[in-house]
């Protein structure tokens, strides 16, 4: 039991490190958590197999990269279906590649959907053509994103930091 807990703690620690920087090498992780490199490699591949680590992606600031994309958050009001509730329609919406995220939320609407497209017209068109007409969808409200201040836990505008002294005793 004690061993199991310890292993779980190591796993959590590794996840934390990778979440912060997915490119940290197994060797560095091994040093940080006090395991052999081989052990880390096997724990990570196990985490991948179990679907706990789903993917490794880069967090890109498209604005800086000069790549224009248009994103919108869409509030979707649904009528739940007998038997499957919101699941089947939510899964259906999820399958569109234009859709970046789908979440069931509390409050006035039921789904919060993030859609990405090349132009505003494309996004509006997609919502009008693909989401609004679905049988279970009662209404939609589209919010185009104007500017990102913070996403995925990262602040976009770099904070000006006071300079630390090189030497303090």
């Amino acid at each position: 039991m004690k061993e199991e807990r310890k292993e779980k703690q190591k796993e959590d620690e590794i996840l934390k490190i990778l979440e912060e920087n997915a490119r940290t090498s197994d060797n560095e992780i091994a040093r940080m958590v006090g395991l052999d490199e081989e052990e880390v490699t096997s724990i990570i591949s196990e985490l991948e197999k179990r679907g706990i680590i789903m993917k490794y992606k880069a967090l890109i600031n498209y604005e800086k990269a000069g790549i224009e994309t248009v994103q919108a958050l869409i509030d979707v009001k649904l009528s739940p279906e007998r038997g499957t509730g919101y699941d089947s329609v939510a899964e259906r919406i999820s399958r569109f590649s234009e859709v970046r995220s789908v979440r069931l939320v509390s409050g006035e609407h039921d789904l919060l959907v993030r859609v990405e497209g090349a132009t505003m017209r494309e996004v509006a068109h997609f919502v009008a053509e693909k989401i609004a007409p679905l049988e279970q969808v009662r209404n939609t409200v589209t919010h185009f994103l104007l500017r990102t201040y913070k996403a995925n836990g990262e602040i976009y505008k770099e904070e000006e930091k006071g300079k630390r002294l090189a030497v303090t005793l």
């Binding site: 620690e13 934390k16 490190i17 920087n21 940290t24 560095e28 040093r31 940080m32 958590v33 006090g34 904070e159 930091k161 006071g162 630390r164 002294l165 090189a166 030497v167 303090t168 005793l169």
Partner: protein
Amino acid sequence: MKATSIADRVKQIKGSGIREYFDIAERMEDAISLGVGEPDFVTPWSIREACIFSLEKGYTSYTSNWGLLELREMLSDKMYSEDSVYYDPEGEILITTGVSEGFDLALRAIVNPGDEVILHEPCYVSYKPCTQFTGGIPVSIETKVEDEFKLRAERIAERVTEKTKAIVLNYPNNPTGAALSRKDLEEIADVATEHDLLVISDEIYGKLTYEGKHTCFSALNGMKERTLLLNGFSKAYAMTGWRIGYAAGNKNVIEAMMKIHQYIMLCTPITAQMAAMEALRCDDETAKMVGEFNRRRRLMVEGLREIGLSCFEPKGAFYTFPSIASTGLTSAEFAKRLLFEHKVVVIPGSVFGDCGEGFIRCSYAVSQFEIKEALERMARFLESCGVK
């Protein structure tokens, strides 16, 4: 000229001798500094935000000499819940302008000229001069890497005389990162009791303990009255520049410290006190920071060993204290050459006492990236010295 001649008390304090090196380090472009003595995190936003709010509300006045009562009450609650020691917020706790002021006040309050104060070296640079400023005599006890830089009770007992007034403890330690176990501390407590000494315990790095939990000295059986506890917000909450700390201890001692404090400082800036109250409400930020320091600690220790330096495994604070004996250089030479040839700043161990010679202090309060880069540069330097 008599008008500008300096008092003997001040003249007797020697300069560190490597001030010049530090000035160069400060100015050198694209140097990586492992010489830092503060977290690389900015004060958590909720703390900064609370401070801004207090300014907006117009909290800009003096406070009680003791510090804001609400802050003292919060500290009292915190010490009680974390360490099971109760301090009366009215009379047993004093808010100070950092531990630095607290330490000075403590010595001035208790030391008569000629009294001896026991220190363990290598140690923080201000203990010795502050003792000398009061006319007290610092008595240094060397701690050794073979013994994990621990101050041993029997070594204290050997050095106690009729004039001994106090023992200064600083664990987790700057510069070595050493910590003492509860048992080690209990043995010291016995010596303090036997010889009727005050223990001044600077526990500024207490929250930054990586193996087990830090034991507060005053929490030991019967030690509350005999301990002057010094602590602050700088390290655990990344608030170095705010200059705020506190002293807790025996009513008479705290009262005497307050007497000095009221004339030289009046009070700790209210802005820092308002921020400190918010800091006490947000402990998960500290936990996050400690987790990150712990990862860096391991990265640094393993890395130093790999490039050929023998390195004691630090248990707390954010410093490693590797031996550079294998290079045949003095610690000042090592630091200078490393800076000029490879642009890495480290602190020569000799700064922390004669027995620190042969060691350097490398802080891991820098990013993982900087640790890796600094280690690579140091590896190249060591190769050029013929080590490994």
